[in-house]
Symmetry: C2
Subunit: 326 residues, 2 copies
Amino acid sequence: MLPIAIDAMGGDHAPGAIVEGAQRAVADLGVPIVLVGRPDDLADLRGDLDVIPASEVIAMDADAGASVRRMKDSSLVRAAEAVRDGKASAMVSAGNTGATMASALLRMGRIRGVARPAIATPIPVPGSTPTVLLDAGANAEVQPAWLVQFAQMGAVFARERYGIATPRVGLLSIGEESSKGNDLVKETHGLLADPAALTASGATFLGNVEGRDIMTDGVDVVVADGFTGNVVLKTMEGVLRTLVRSVFEALGATAVAEPAIESLMPLYNVLDPDQTGGAMLLGVDGVCIISHGSSSATAIVSAARVAAEMVEAGLVDRLRVAVAAG
Amino acid sequence: MLPIAIDAMGGDHAPGAIVEGAQRAVADLGVPIVLVGRPDDLADLRGDLDVIPASEVIAMDADAGASVRRMKDSSLVRAAEAVRDGKASAMVSAGNTGATMASALLRMGRIRGVARPAIATPIPVPGSTPTVLLDAGANAEVQPAWLVQFAQMGAVFARERYGIATPRVGLLSIGEESSKGNDLVKETHGLLADPAALTASGATFLGNVEGRDIMTDGVDVVVADGFTGNVVLKTMEGVLRTLVRSVFEALGATAVAEPAIESLMPLYNVLDPDQTGGAMLLGVDGVCIISHGSSSATAIVSAARVAAEMVEAGLVDRLRVAVAAG
């Protein structure tokens, strides 16, 4: 397999945690890696890893479109070019999300027939496979036909990533009846209810689902516009953060703190975003993983593992087939 | 004070739990109550409580608009009429949410100048006052000017309900910068950034906030369209339900289950929706509380208490002033 190109300069803890994660992915998992970034910054960190040189770094809060257009020698743009040029099999970045999307879109291009790429984010579900939520933020304004493609791509991803033979797709709304929702959802519901819509993706359409269904084993793929999806994702992050802190504080003040907290560690690990492998940009002509800005070395190991798995599963070709048929 | 009209027939546990809650509100809090419902069904339950007779019951899953138009002798319609006719000071229902809104809107009417009423739902925040989220589901499609009114009304509610002198209002979006969001949010941001918009509500505009800010003490009022707000509310419910169950299961299997779970009860009570007093329909010309369909007797006690407090605070007149000035 061609190496996974990891943007060594992107993320709150770059380059240290990123390169450490890359080293561990090679040593522990045997995943081939090439770093992308400033050779001088990486000289003392890279060890045996190859480096694709890139002189510029797109800041975490920079304007995505303008940065990608102007900073042609940035680590993000060079990582996407490495995939396009057949020097890498996938890209991973914990940097500026918008710039990661723009780099992948502009350099790799879209899969033929895809109207817009979407961000697919795995939502952990205790005791079950994660639920794939998409679009988690790539497209704040969407059209019904795009949501149908998100459903098709999300189903393919759920099957390849989690081995779900017949993914159950739900449309995020505010009531189960097809009459519930905003105009976008009502129109999309009609399109997804056509049995032909999901045939090539091997999925079934559950109809509308609600926010309370996402973190359950009742649905495998939840489709939403990128505004709603991103709000949902960050709402979940906020509730989890508040609850985890509150629970640990309450237990920490008791005489049984140690065994009580110990018993919660398996649950904590299920919910830990560092374990999910990051979000995937579906619809571009290559594997592109968008890791959280706060990614630790462990998160990068997970992302490299998932990238390698998706390359070996032929994810992009499977997405191509599902979208072409739809 | 005129009595609070409680729809005795609405809710998953009606009429038993509803009437029990009404009895407790009278006995424990001294709140005057009148029940609304079928006299025969309430004869054995009502005790000393007066009953406004209503022969019909709108089912939990009935079409809201059609039911309210056709079932003129339903408990929901009669409860709203009691407020309109000066026989009750407020209405409370755990029944069909859409029909509760429609009854209140059609019988009480809107406050002059209000474009659309909105549902304001308190989101519990451990260690702080709740965050008021609105619109939590009344309006799936909205206009920017309506969101400005939601901000004004939500701020007045936060002050009267939680004593927050200068409520901080945030606009729910997918990034803090004013350039982030969908078209609706970007246009609304411009309107709320006008210092005059919130002057009469005594509030300050924080700018955009994200989903992760809702359950923190960083914001007092979060404004959203009713589709996004309802999705957020149900997402939070789902995450809380999954987490609470998972935590109790993990702790329950340990040798220290009893003291560990005991230490979490204060947190559990903060998050318990039965304690919040329910959601409030803001913008109709009367106090109207929409309780959760699964309301227990305790939830009805909380709702009756909040209804009485909002009547005594003159909430509707304060909303009238804030909206007229805006």
